[in-house]
Symmetry: none
Subunit: 304 residues, 2 copies
């Protein structure tokens, strides 16, 4: 930023220009008129320009004085407004929540809607981004993270240790399913495979799931449908494009609504739980605590 003119003198200028009198300005500022006179003189010296014409015992703004008055009044008005807001305690805190992309729509959005219903005036910003993030720098109040290890210095609340189970659309199972052979007898092209990519812990595979059933089948991903996001796997299943190993937290609403059916009660746990992280200084704020409570209370009941 450029060098600032003397701010006390700027204040005196604004009041003098507005009132057209150093005496009136002095009264408003609570100082002597000589003090105002000196401050104006200081400012004129600093600028190298006259701001007022003195005619005997009267003052008139010069053109230069006229030119800078509006912007000066505005800037000082803005600063006064800041002060007013702070003194009135009128700063309404905005809750900034950060979630992984895959959780934003299917899991967090409904929960935020519930929170907003309970607290209609709560201001919430939602950021969708993957770990790791800088909570402090980004002024994030609560980060939901896959795993409990990214933010060791922060306050942590464990939300849910999710698992995956085979789900598909009801009509899909009527058309392709077989109660006698179950999933074992299905064609390879009907499986939806979720691959989080090389930078992330591995999503449980169909081979993992069959192993958990005591079987040995291992459907080949190159013969099925492959998606890179858990939420996309759920959506594909809902659309009747196949059978997915869907994360329970994301599939729950669809299961309850009957848009998806679970094909087995066997599930495989994810490698890590989902946890909420908060900067310690913010963890006891009423809005943060309310959201955490809601997230904990609405976590799905998992088996095992």
């Amino acid at each position: 930023m450029e060098k600032l003119p003397p701010l006390n003198a700027i204040k005196a200028f604004e009041v003098a220009a507005r009132s057209g009198s150093f005496t009136l300005a002095a009264s408003e500022l609570g100082v002597s008129s000589a003090a105002v006179s000196q401050q104006i003189r200081n400012l004129e010296t600093w600028f190298g320009k006259q701001l007022f014409v003195r005619t005997g015992n009267r003052i008139t703004l010069t053109d230069a004085g006229h030119a800078i008055y509006p912007q000066t009044a505005r800037a000082l008005g803005d600063i006064a407004a800041i002060g007013q807001r702070m003194l009135e305690g009128g700063l309404r805190t905005r809750l900034v929540v950060s979630v992984p992309f895959s959780l934003a729509e299917l899991w967090l959005a409904p929960r935020l809607a519930a929170l907003l219903e309970a607290f209609p005036h709560m201001a919430i910003d939602v950021r969708a981004e993957d770990d790791p993030i800088d909570l402090v720098r980004q002024n994030v109040d609560l980060r939901i993270s896959y795993g409990d290890y990214h933010y060791p210095a922060l306050r942590m609340v464990r939300l849910v240790h999710d698992d995956v189970l085979p789900v598909c659309a009801p009509e899909f199972w009527q058309r392709h399913g077989n109660s006698d052979t179950g999933l074992v007898g299905l064609h390879e092209s009907l499986f939806i495979h979720t691959n989080w990519g090389p930078n992330y812990a591995s999503h449980p595979s169909w081979a993992d799931w069959f192993a958990a059933c005591g079987g040995s089948r291992s459907p080949d991903p190159s013969h099925g449908r492959r998606v890179g996001l858990s939420s996309l796997a759920i959506a594909s299943a809902r659309l009747g494009l196949g059978i997915a190993l869907g994360q329970r937290v994301m599939a729950q609403a669809d299961l309850e609504a009957g848009r998806l059916i679970a094909l087995s009660s066997v599930s495989v746990r994810l490698g890590h739980p989902y946890c909420a992280f908060m900067p310690p200084a913010k963890a006891d704020r009423a809005d943060v605590a309310a959201l955490v409570r809601l997230l904990v209370n609405t976590a799905p009941t998992t088996r095992g």
Copy 2:
């Protein structure tokens, strides 16, 4: 004018917040770090609120500190600019443009870039604020206003009568959309509702849009996402957080780039046009006229 906070302390706050360090701020201000520390402390005492969290030998802005920083920087920047102008003796005319918040980023910025390409030495200030404003007092050369009624004494040029149409991210529609049922069959939580608040003319609602299609659906805003700015609705849609009724002037770039898709050709007009207002004495200035010409020429072609 309300009582001002201590201006010297405000100056120290701005530099400390910007640099994130009392030591760096001291260097910039040409004083000792202890002086900066004391000024910040003075200001916190005056406000009755903490502006920085001190952690050992580090500082972090508090929410309150974050909240007031942008406006503080702006106000001090304005004062510095006044000083600069006076020292340079350059009463060089600056084009001051004022726009509503929602138009600043998505609509005006690209147009100003085009103007600066044609006139590289043009000095432009852009202010973002909502109606009504005092153009004379704030020395604004051109105000873009929603509606044609705020400034009856000023020269007016009508720019565009915008409309809204349903938009969302392409991947969002692939995941949630259904060509057979279209928007009618969508879950209520997927709609993004724009509410300008009680002080402004109403933004067209989803119910308005469905009525324009000859339907009767009326998505309930309490079940969807609510945003208070048209530009935020566009951004939320682009991020895949739902389907928004997006203003064409703001959505145009995203639509052309494929980041958003229009889900229907049906649109609903806003209640008022956007107009440009100028004090009569400034309307024929070359820079003002050039900007108005550009804005008129690049207005989107609207349907019906």
